[in-house]
Symmetry: C2
Subunit: 219 residues, 2 copies
DNA sequence: CGACATAGTGTACAATTGTTCACTAATTCG
DNA sequence: CGAATTAGTGAACAATTGTACACTATGTCG
């Protein structure tokens, strides 16, 4: 095996160790450098060949996770957009994606409120960016043509907040085994709820009037 | 000083130590029994005179926090309900209350996704209970008379999710000093956003039709 | 081949942790 | 008063932690 391959392999083992322990319910702060190295089958000192600290390991996981999340957004965008089934389809994709990349979302959900300030800020920025992207996507819908940028950001923020809540709920859904998916019936039930929670605010869109905001011609 | 007073005092010192360290950004998992005792000005062994473990200390903080939160709900309910200003007033009360009880909310926000399963579940249950109470409150509004119980729970869940997001955002608002409130202007700005995010879903209420649910006469 | 680079090893060290145990000092109460 | 209860002390323990350093083995490449 080539040297680069070995290197990449243990690096992945370290990331995997951290990811899977967080998926098992531990917080990022409770992960010690030593325990991660141990779980990766490597001696503590070897950890430093790949990351200068646990912070760096965490940031690498943030990158991984949001890369995966972006691939989801792309998929949803390219999926063709039947105008009325868009919410249903989006929730379907979301649930599917979260279950398929469970560890990534479990990591982000856990590290988002961790004691590690570096990670918290990194994740907060990624979410902000993600929200802005969603806002520009929303701007393309005819119904939202006349909305101010501020209101679009508000709507995107609202949807992202719901998305986060939904994701956290998915991760907490009872599973058959420690490594299994939730029961399909419970999942269907949950999807219905999530759909409703996303649909209700959208029903408010047609009657929305930007209130308390003076719309100036150029910013 | 009476013995009971002394006891109560160091107990409070222990709770305060944990609370304030979490408000400063540390996670519950990173609080060691020793460090909490140290911050409370007490020797580690003395900790055990009050709590059998950090878990118990955490549960006591959960009680404290949700007691405070309930007092907020009561206040909002008794505040008299001018039907159109209700959202505005609720947000005002919420912001005021979070700033006044910052430590409690910081604790809950942090422990909600901590690695400590006991705390996570305790908090999740409290939030569920809180959501149900809100749902029965909502049921009293004439516009929601015909809504199914399920849809009311859905709406309450949606509002609670937004509330949680708003609370977390308040806690992250930049403050002047380490112990100061956010700048009033930034706060006003933020309140406007929060109001909008709560108002939009409510605008959807009149056009809501329970979809995909067969309403059976008795459950 | 042979010198070099480097991923991973093994050992060591000081710090901090949770828990225990015998203790002291002070309040409570018969 | 005087005995009993009890909040808090101080020392001790085994375990675990992050980091450092000299090392070995094994691919890389001139």
């Amino acid at each position: 095996m080539t040297q680069a391959e070995r290197r990449h392999q243990t690096r992945q083992a370290l990331l995997e160790a951290a990811r899977s322990r967080m998926d098992a319910g531990e917080s990022f702060d409770s992960l010690s450098l030593r325990s991660v190295a141990r779980a990766a089958g490597v001696v503590p000192a070897a950890f430093y060949r790949h990351f200068a600290s646990m912070d760096e390991l965490g940031l690498a996981l943030v990158d991984e996770s949001f890369l995966s999340l972006r691939s989801m957004l792309r998929r949803a965008r390219e999926d063709g957009l039947p105008p009325e089934h868009i919410v249903h389809r989006s929730v379907e994709i979301l649930v599917e994606h979260v279950l398929a990349h469970r560890q990534h979302f479990a990591f982000v959900a856990g590290a988002r409120s961790s004691g590690n300030g570096v990670l918290r800020h990194a994740i907060r920025n990624e979410i902000r960016l993600f929200t802005s992207e969603l806002a520009t996507d929303l701007a393309r819908f005819p119904i939202l043509r006349e909305w101010t940028t501020e209101d679009l950001q508000m709507l995107a923020g609202l949807l992202v907040n719901s998305m986060i809540a939904i994701i956290e709920a998915i991760l907490e859904l009872p599973t058959s085994g420690p490594a299994g998916d939730p029961r399909p019936e419970a999942l269907k039930e949950f999807v219905r709820l999530a759909e409703k929670q996303l649909r209700l605010p959208l029903l408010g869109v047609p009657s929305w009037r930007s209130i308390g905001v003076k719309e100036t011609p150029a910013g």
